[in-house]
Structure formats: structure tokens, C-alpha cells
């Protein structure tokens, strides 16, 4: 399971590329060069190629969310679980950003679930449907 959660932070002594590549390097024993092209392609989809070698501390909250999402997508046959996204993204209109982000990488995960407090329902459009990001 690939988790995107405020309680599962990015590793601060790794750059963006290192954070995203870590899971494939560790579990798949893949060398960095083998994963790097895929990650660069994914970052390009978000127009974020420039942040590949940046440290986590200098990222905006949206960039940080995207990096967490890409890291979660690196899990083989990923089921992505997004936990309380509005604790990471503070703009009320950010649900659109979450959906767009998920669409950009839809071949990288099998399913995605978003968990949040019921009082945040309005942010998802007020219906049950948006609660499941797939």
C-alpha cells in the first residue's frame, strides 16, 4: 500500500528524486539510473522537472504533496491511500488539484482511496462519490 499522509513525512536528508526512488531501489533492488528516467517522466507530467534535485525543506506544499503521491505510486501494483489531504493542502479548492494529480499518474496505481473527516465533505463536493478518488 502506498500511503500519502501528514504522519508519513518525506525523508529530509534525501532530495526529491531520492525520496521517490527509494522504494524501488530498496524493494526492487533497482539501480538509481533504472528508476531515474521513470521519475523524471512523472515529474514532467506535473511540470516539476526542476525540483528533482531539491531538498524537501524548499518545496511548496503542493510540490510536497505531488512528491508524496509519486512516492506512494512507486509501490508495486499500488493501492494509494490518501490520508486527510487537507492537512497537507490548505487551499479549499485543492480537491481539483488532487483529482488532476491522480489522473496524471493513473496507470501507476490500481486503486486509490481518500480518507478524511466527515466535516470536510463539502470540500469534496458534498457527495459520497468524490470520497473515492478512482
Amino acid at each position: 500500500m502506498g500511503i500519502v499522509s501528514p504522519d508519513i513525512p518525506l525523508i529530509s536528508n534525501l532530495d526529491v528524486l531520492g525520496n521517490i526512488a527509494l522504494i524501488r531501489e530498496y524493494h526492487g533492488n533497482l539501480p538509481r539510473e533504472a528508476v531515474e528516467d521513470q521519475i523524471r517522466d512523472l515529474l514532467r507530467r506535473f511540470d516539476l522537472s526542476a525540483i528533482a534535485y531539491r531538498r524537501i525543506a524548499v518545496l511548496s506544499e503542493k510540490d510536497r504533496f505531488v512528491v508524496m503521491l509519486l512516492r506512494a505510486a512507486m509501490v508495486m501494483e499500488a493501492m494509494i491511500l490518501i490520508d486527510r489531504p487537507f492537512r497537507m493542502l490548505h487551499d479549499p479548492r485543492d480537491y481539483g488539484f488532487i483529482l488532476t494529480s491522480l489522473k496524471k499518474i493513473d496507470e501507476w496505481y490500481k486503486e486509490c482511496h481518500i480518507f478524511d473527516y466527515s466535516w470536510n465533505e463539502e470540500r469534496y463536493g458534498g457527495t459520497d462519490a468524490p470520497q473515492d478518488g478512482t
Binding site: 500511503i3 508519513i8 513525512p9 518525506l10 536528508n13 527509494l22 530498496y26 538509481r32
Partner: protein, 265 residues
């Protein structure tokens, strides 16, 4: 009575710290010798750690080794000549400076520079829940974080001790020319005659032990940090105190072992 109770509590706490440290050391050792530990991610961390510990430090380390080595060898050689002990110059260089001073000085520098940094790094990762991140993605922190740092400690102390010894021997050559008017041939012959394989083997073992514990102890104390930032300096302080105790303890143990082996042989 209170005094006795305090001594007892302190003894129990120390014994518990020691047994926990040895249990942790055993767990790590098992992972160090397991080939599966060294996946791509761990190899990257290992290479980076060796760069930070053994390569970045080189200019400063070589400078200090040359100055310190010249001072130790120069003063010792001068005194030996005055006392009529010039015949023991080779043994002093190989038996004392190379096998005793080099590892001790190297591990002190590494403890000051890298052990404190590793202790802080692990404590900060614990406080900021980054260790939790690794566990959430089924990444074993012992394999990914601790093993490469400890292997790096062992490799760096051994290699830097050897470099230190080479710097000292070069200073020795200079002083042997100035004080004893020795040629390079005579100096090399003296060193070869004074070198004992047993001493060199003991030095290597000592370097590995010093490297292992000078990184393992800071990691263990880094893990003892709580969720509060204020626990970071406390864990670093305790970790560094125990590192220095361990260094002295290993030095004393190695001296006892060497003298016992010397008597047996």
C-alpha cells in the same frame, strides 16, 4: 541507605544500557553479514556515508596527521637519542605510534565529526517521524539506515588509521634523517625489522571494533529520543559520553589482550 540505593539504581541502569547496547550490536552484526542487506538503496547510502566520513575529511585529516605525527615522532626520537635508546626507534614507530596512536587519534576525530552528526541525524529522524515513514513502506531502518553507517564507520576508521600511520611514518623518515642521520634504505630496513604481523592484525581488529562501536552507540542513543525536539541534545550528549567510554574501554581491552598474547607467545 539512600546513598546505597542510588548506587544500586545507577549500577542497574548502567548494566541495562550495556546489555541493550550489546543486544542491539548483535542484531546489527547479523544484518551486516547478511548479503541480502546490500540492495541498491543501501549501497547508495553506504557510498554516500563513506564519502562524507572518509573522503570529505581528508585534507583536514592529512594536515592534522602530518603535524601531530611530526610532533610525536620528533619529540620521541629526540628523547630516545638523549636516553641512548636509539636502537628502539623502529619498535617505537611500529609498536606504539602505528598500532596504538593512529587508531586512537583517528577514532577520536571520527567520533567528534561523524558520530555526533549521526547521533543527531537519527534523533531528528525519530522526532520528525521519518523512521515511521520507512516502516510504513516496509523499509527496515536497521538495514537501510544503520548498517551502511556502521559499515562506513568500520571502513573509515581502518582506512584513515592506515593513512595516519603512513603520514606518521613519512614524518619518521624525516626525523630519522635529521636526528639519527639515517638513509632511506636504513629507515625502511628498520621498519620492516620492527613490523610484527600480529601487531598489524591486532591494529586492524581494533580499528574494526572502534569503527563499529563509535557509530553503533550514537545510533542507539539517537533512537532513544522521544517525540520532543528537546530530547535531541540529551540523546547526543548521552551518546557521545558513551562513545568516549567505549573508545577508552576498547583501547584498554586491546592493550590487555596484546600483553596477554605477548606473554603466551
Amino acid at each position: 541507605m539512600d546513598f546505597v540505593a542510588r548506587i544500586g539504581r545507577s549500577a542497574i541502569r548502567t548494566a541495562r544500557t550495556l546489555s541493550d547496547t550489546f543486544a542491539f550490536a548483535f542484531q546489527i552484526f547479523v544484518k551486516i553479514v547478511d548479503r541480502d542487506t546490500y540492495n541498491s538503496a543501501v549501497r547508495i547510502v553506504l557510498a554516500r556515508q563513506i564519502y562524507f566520513t572518509a573522503v570529505q575529511i581528508l585534507p583536514m585529516f592529512l594536515g592534522i596527521a602530518a603535524v601531530f605525527g611530526a610532533a610525536v615522532v620528533g619529540i620521541s626520537a629526540q628523547y630516545m637519542k638523549e636516553l641512548g635508546l636509539s636502537g628502539f626507534f623502529g619498535q617505537m614507530l611500529m609498536g606504539f605510534v602505528v598500532t596504538e596512536v593512529s587508531p586512537f587519534f583517528t577514532v577520536l576525530l571520527i567520533a567528534l565529526r561523524s558520530s555526533s552528526a549521526i547521533n543527531t541525524e537519527i534523533a531528528v529522524m525519530k522526532v520528525s517521524r521519518e523512521l515511521q515513514t520507512l516502516e510504513a513502506f516496509r523499509i527496515d531502518p536497521a538495514r537501510y539506515l544503520f548498517v551502511p553507517r556502521i559499515v562506513n564507520g568500520m571502513v573509515s576508521v581502518t582506512l584513515l588509521s592506515s593513512l595516519f600511520a603512513i603520514a606518521v611514518l613519512l614524518s619518521g623518515w624525516l626525523f630519522s634523517r635529521i636526528i639519527f642521520s639515517m638513509s632511506l634504505d636504513e629507515y625502511a630496513t628498520l621498519l620492516i625489522a620492527s613490523a610484527k604481523y600480529g601487531d598489524i592484525f591486532a591494529m586492524l581488529l581494533k580499528c574494526l571494533a572502534l569503527g563499529f562501536f563509535s557509530v553503533l552507540i550514537p545510533i542507539r542513543f539517537g533512537l532513544s529520543a522521544t517525540n520532543e525536539l528537546t530530547s535531541v541534545p540529551i540523546s547526543v550528549l548521552n551518546g557521545m559520553v558513551w562513545v568516549f567510554i567505549a573508545i577508552v574501554f576498547i583501547e584498554v581491552l586491546s592493550l590487555i589482550a596484546t600483553s596477554l598474547l605477548g606473554k603466551l607467545v
